[in-house]
């Protein structure tokens, strides 16, 4: 291969130039890293203009909803739970302190210390008072607060747990991206508490933000730690620090350059892209290990550095180019996923893989060419040819195992194939068991404080995950025709036969100049000026005609519409995961009862829209009149049911939406109403579905592309097919395993399919390329197998071991996605290594006549 030769020649003759270029690349792109912008918002998994996201945003803005942190105060010790002076005082103190924290929407904080209590206060009296303006100082006051909360259905299960063991404080925040800082400040306030109470903080924004913060800690800890273990593994195999330093330069340079480019191009580092280093490190190391492995073996035999290098590069350049291209294609296929952060991730990993390839073929020879004779002598001495040695750590044990594997694969080839069929069947069954599910809170290990808080608070309360079920009035009477309306009104006025009224009507029409709003304003003024009931009734009738058309009052003051909202709420409560819902009817019923002397018989929606409006007017005479607008828009055309879910699992949210859909199918909304979902928990379901479909398409399309590339590389349909065999079995096995172990198919797992494809194909290409070349050289299948299971198999196995063991530090991360990647890498490596060495050998053995033909025509090139 002339390209390989010229590159190797250039690298080995101008090593300084290579070093300077690598240094410049690292420094140049690395310098951009401080510009980093972090984006941990899973909402950004969807494009900005995605319809569900647009709807979610409109819901948030129309109902002035904020993302919130949920703070829990739990007292398991006191016989009265939280209803004792100390706990209430603590909750009061905490609330006041939280209100002072920068970034908290002070006037929207929900706590017993901030909410109002509208209640009946003796015969004929209604009272608007703070629920807990000051911390109670007597048991009677505590009792009063407890009794008052019992009468407030909006608070029960939301601010006070039904079992009285827990209080919640809902802390709305201006910006989701500040939730970690605010949560930390709240924790600082909590730390000052001394009583029996336990404190917890949860809520999706905190989980997401905290994940972001810890994610970067992990990037700083787990990735270098993995590097260290990889380094150790390389030393075990090559016993030369000088030699193995080379890949340990290539991998970080690849990572730094790729991340620098990503950041420099202005892409925020999302949860996905934060995984780029973890993905690039093994891929960058793999090629180097192939070179080092081959080089060490050859140099050991010949002792000629330049010749060994050229031979190795000649041997490996094409397979390395193809493995890099195929891996890159595998990741680049993610560019077709409908999720922007996944596209960025795929494209930059693809870039990193190609960069790693260039660095490997240019830098490694240059580096080896600059090694001193003494260092090289060490390499030679460290891995001696001692087939009969029983040294505890040397490579010959590996050699023996490989030799046995090679002969075994041929001897027991039928069993191997049978076993593979069994594995495939097992895996297919497992894949069918896969549950597609995700939940940002579950990205933390079970003992993490966020997981603990999530568990504790969701046992006590109606649920800390929120979704919004939004009802929209869609009927629009069209642009009102002012002259038609005015004509109808004229008829009403003229019917009275009162000349003064007619004159007034003519005058105010002239004044309004065909502007309906101005005309309505004028009629109101006439109504307010009316001296007799008869006159007033005329103007009221006129207004009814004019305002009716302009949509004066919206649907959600209509008792019939509110009854439907109540039905929907009942249906929600009947689903499996909804603990509670709050909506407009709850406010109306509570206030209506308070207006009716607290009589439970009146815990109803009044039967006229005037009754509803006047109940709400009373509610709005409280300290927090604007709370109403979280549940209905000021024009009463849009209503919001705040749904509290006990679980943030996407599959649970999806189950709720399905059950609500079933309800809607059986009980269609009144004409002119539509029902839609919003809220973070729901948005997570939407992007997950997009993700699963996107990943499946990306995997299938890259599978096809890789297959075509394999056929081209080997110039053989059969070899192309064979090359796909190990990765197909591996991917199937991995996902089968996920199904069997009951692990949810979540974001990291979805992305790992690309990694599997990329890493598995690497082994298959090297193996097949070398097998084919050796078969052409020897013409004897048994000899070929024996020789393949010496050097090439050793390189593959070394690679598998380096990566599998090298990334075990990820298992100790408190973040579940990192654990997942760690386990996956080990499993991918073991499975694809075995599939390549054993399964391919057995299959080749069975198909040897078909694929190699006569010994003479074996080499396609």
């Amino acid at each position: 291969m002339s390209i390989a030769h010229s590159i190797t020649t250039l690298s080995t003759t101008r090593p300084r130039l290579v070093f300077v270029c690598v240094l410049l690349l690292t420094l140049g792109l690395g310098a951009l890293i401080p510009l980093i912008q972090i984006d941990t918002d899973p909402e950004n998994m969807l494009p900005d203009d995605q319809p569900d996201r647009v709807f979610h945003r409109s819901v948030k803005s129309d109902f002035t909803l904020y993302d919130f942190i949920v703070v829990g105060v739990v007292n398991e010790a006191h016989p009265d739970g939280v209803f004792n002076q100390e706990t209430l005082a603590e909750a009061h103190r905490l609330t006041r302190a939280i209100e002072q924290i920068e970034g908290v929407v002070t006037h929207e904080v929900l706590s017993l210390a901030t909410v109002d209590d509208v209640r009946s206060d003796g015969p004929g009296v209604v009272r608007f008072a703070w629920m807990m303006a000051d911390a109670p100082t007597t048991d009677a006051e505590v009792q009063a607060i407890r009794d008052a909360t019992e009468r407030q259905p909006m608070l029960r299960g939301t601010l006070v747990s039904e079992d009285h063991r827990a209080l919640a404080i809902y802390v709305p925040i201006v910006d989701k991206s500040e939730s970690h800082r605010i949560a930390s400040e709240i924790r600082a306030v909590m730390a000052e508490a001394a009583g029996d109470e336990q404190y917890h903080i949860t809520g999706l924004p905190v989980a997401e933000e905290t994940f972001g913060v810890e994610m970067f800690l992990q990037m700083g800890v787990a990735a270098p730690l993995a590097g260290l273990v990889v380094f150790f593994m390389l030393w075990v195999f090559f016993r030369s620090f000088a030699l193995i330093t080379a890949p340990m330069i290539v991998a970080p340079v690849t990572v730094v350059a790729t991340m620098g480019l990503l950041i420099g191009l202005g892409f925020p580092v999302h949860i996905m892209s934060s995984m780029i280093p973890i993905f690039l490190m093994p891929i960058a190391v793999v090629d180097s290990v192939h070179i080092l492995s081959e080089f060490a073996d050859r140099y050991r035999l010949t002792g000629d550095r330049a010749e060994a290098l050229h031979e190795v590069m000649h041997e490996l350049f094409t397979p390395m180019l193809y493995t890099s291209l195929t891996s890159a294609v595998g990741f680049a296929s993610l560019a077709f996923a409908p999720i922007p952060p996944v596209r960025v991730f795929g494209l930059f990993v693809a870039f990193g893989i190609l960069l790693a390839f260039v660095l490997t073929v240019v830098f490694i020879p240059a580096y080896i060419s600059r090694m001193s004779e003494a260092q090289l002598a060490k390499v030679q001495a460290a891995v001696p040819v001692k087939q009969d040695s029983d040294g505890p750590h040397d490579a010959t044990r590996l050699g023996r195992v490989l030799k046995w594997l090679g002969s075994g694969s041929i001897q027991y080839n039928k069993m191997v194939l049978l076993f593979t069929v069994g594995v495939v069947a097992f895996s297919v069954w497992g894949v069918m068991q896969i549950t597609i599910n995700d939940n940002p809170v579950r990205w933390f290990s079970p003992s993490h404080e966020i997981r603990v808080a999530d568990r504790v608070l969701n046992t006590h309360f109606g649920g800390t995950y929120d979704a919004y079920l939004v009802l929209d009035q869609t009927t629009e009477s069209g642009a009102p025709n002012v002259s038609d309306l005015a004509a109808a009104a004229t008829a009403i006025v003229e019917q009275t036969g009162d000349a003064a009224l007619t004159d007034a009507w003519v005058a105010i029409q002239a004044d309004a100049e065909d502007d309906l709003d101005a005309l309505i304003d004028n009629v109101y003024d006439e109504l307010d000026a009316a001296l007799t009931d008869e006159e007033a009734v005329v103007w009221e009738d006129v207004l009814a005609g004019l305002e009716g058309a302009s949509g004066g009052g919206g649907a959600f003051q209509d008792p019939a519409m509110l009854a439907y909202v109540e039905q929907l709420q009942a249906a929600l409560l009947a689903t499996d995961h909804v603990g509670k819902s709050n909506a407009l009817p709850d406010i109306i019923k509570t206030v209506h009862r308070a207006l009716r002397e607290g009589d439970d018989a009146y815990f109803t929606v009044p039967n006229s829209s005037g009754g509803v409006a006047q109940t709400l007017l009373s509610y709005q005479s409280s300290h927090r009149p604007n709370d109403l607008w979280h549940f209905v828009t000021p024009d009463y055309r849009r209503a919001n049911i705040w749904v509290q879910l006990k679980s943030g699992d996407n599959q649970d949210m999806a189950a709720v939406t399905e059950q609500v859909d079933a309800f809607l199918a059986e009980n269609p909304p009144p004409p002119g109403l539509t029902v839609n979902w919003g809220g973070l928990t729901y948005i997570n379901v939407v992007w997950q579905q997009a993700m699963v479909n996107g990943m499946l398409n990306a995997l299938l399309s890259s599978f096809l592309i890789v297959f075509v590339m394999m056929v081209v590389l080997f110039r053989s349909f059969w070899f192309g097919l064979l090359a796909m065999l190990p990765l197909s079995v591996t991917i199937l096995f991995i996902y089968g395993l996920i199904g069997w172990t009951g692990k949810d198919y979540d974001m990291p797992i979805a992305v790992l399919s690309s990694l599997t494809l990329g890493l598995s194909i690497d082994f298959a290409i090297h193996f097949l390329q070398r097998t084919r070349a050796l078969q052409a050289e020897t013409g004897d299948w048994a000899t070929t197998v024996r020789r393949v299971f010496a050097e090439p198999a050793r390189a593959i196995t070394r690679n598998a071991l380096v990566i599998a063991i090298g990334f075990t530090p990820l298992l100790f991360s408190p973040l579940v996605p990192y654990n997942t990647v760690g386990i996956f890498l080990a499993t991918i490596m073991s499975a694809s290594c075995l599939a390549t060495l054993v399964l391919l050998t057995s299959t080749l053995h069975v198909m040897r006549r078909l694929v190699f033909g006569s010994p003479a025509s074996a080499d396609g090139s």
Binding site: T106, V125, P634
Partner: protein
């Protein structure tokens, strides 16, 4: 109330003395005099009065809601007890709702609400008057006035046209503000601006008099704006058809007449 009488007497004398002088005359330096005169100018013009009021409630997103009502006032004595009656006409679904206040200086006011669609007369429990007035950014207390006796006053600045007075509540637990500052016009003694400061020292609420007209000899604020700086919303109150000294009888302001407001008095026809 007895306590306020000497003050009232002092005020009346001051009124006689100052009334004849022109506006550039010597500034007042006694803060109580200024506060009392401001209280009278803002809440006690004439023996009684009527106005057609339109509240435009605007939220942070610019969404508007309109409430329209006729408000009647009758003073028992200047600077002392007085009554208010508010009859809503708009929006249509709260039409006929009445809000009635019998204000007592030095003790709790009596307040009632009549809800016609529910045919309910509700007495509003004594206590906090700093709750929203029918969902607007005004408080009940802004409608009928905060008694000067509830705060400690300090004249902090006298400008060419205004007295600036800082008011600190005597019972801080009863209100949501730490203090409020009022800018009183030297000529009319009308409060032109009020700012409420929270415990952190930030202004979170502001009331401004946007327009002043002299009606029947009484300088009258005809347009006011109250802004809630926390929510970003505001309410504008516009008063028209203003009339004073109508001779409105006491019976218009009683619980018994809530269900049948007399058009004769509520009508804004001149």
């Amino acid at each position: 109330m007895i306590k306020t009488l000497p003050k009232l007497f002092f005020f009346l004398c001051a009124l006689l003395l100052v009334g004849g002088m022109d506006a550039t005359a010597q500034d007042l330096t006694d803060v109580h005099t200024i506060i009392d005169r401001a209280n009278l100018a803002a809440y006690y013009a004439g023996d009684d009065g009527r106005a057609l009021t339109r509240l435009t409630i605007v939220d942070a997103q610019g969404r508007e809601r309109i409430r329209q009502f006729t408000i009647l006032r009758r003073d028992v004595e200047d600077g002392g007890d007085q009554s208010y009656a508010v009859l809503f006409s708009r929006p249509a679904d709260v039409r006929g709702t009445v809000f009635l206040v019998q204000k007592h200086v030095g003790e709790d006011d009596d307040r009632w609400l009549y809800l016609p669609s529910l045919d309910l007369v509700k007495r509003i429990a004594a206590g906090d008057k700093r709750t929203s007035f029918v969902g607007s950014d005004f408080y009940y207390e802004d409608v009928s006035g905060r008694a000067p006796q509830e705060d400690e006053h300090a004249l902090i600045e006298t400008t060419d046209t205004q007295y600036v007075i800082k008011n600190t509540p005597l019972d801080p637990g009863s209100v949501e503000f730490a203090s409020w500052t009022v800018w009183v016009d030297k000529a009319t003694f009308l409060p032109m601006k009020m700012e409420y400061v929270d415990a952190a020292g930030d202004v979170y609420r502001r009331i401004e008099s946007l327009a002043v007209e002299t009606v029947a000899g009484y300088p009258t604020v005809t347009q006011m704006k109250v802004s809630d700086l926390r929510t970003g919303g505001h309410t504008i109150s516009e008063m028209r058809s203003i009339a004073y000294d109508l001779g409105i009888p006491e019976q218009v302001f009683t619980e018994r007449t809530l269900r049948n407001p007399q058009r004769e008095w509520f009508s804004t026809r001149p």
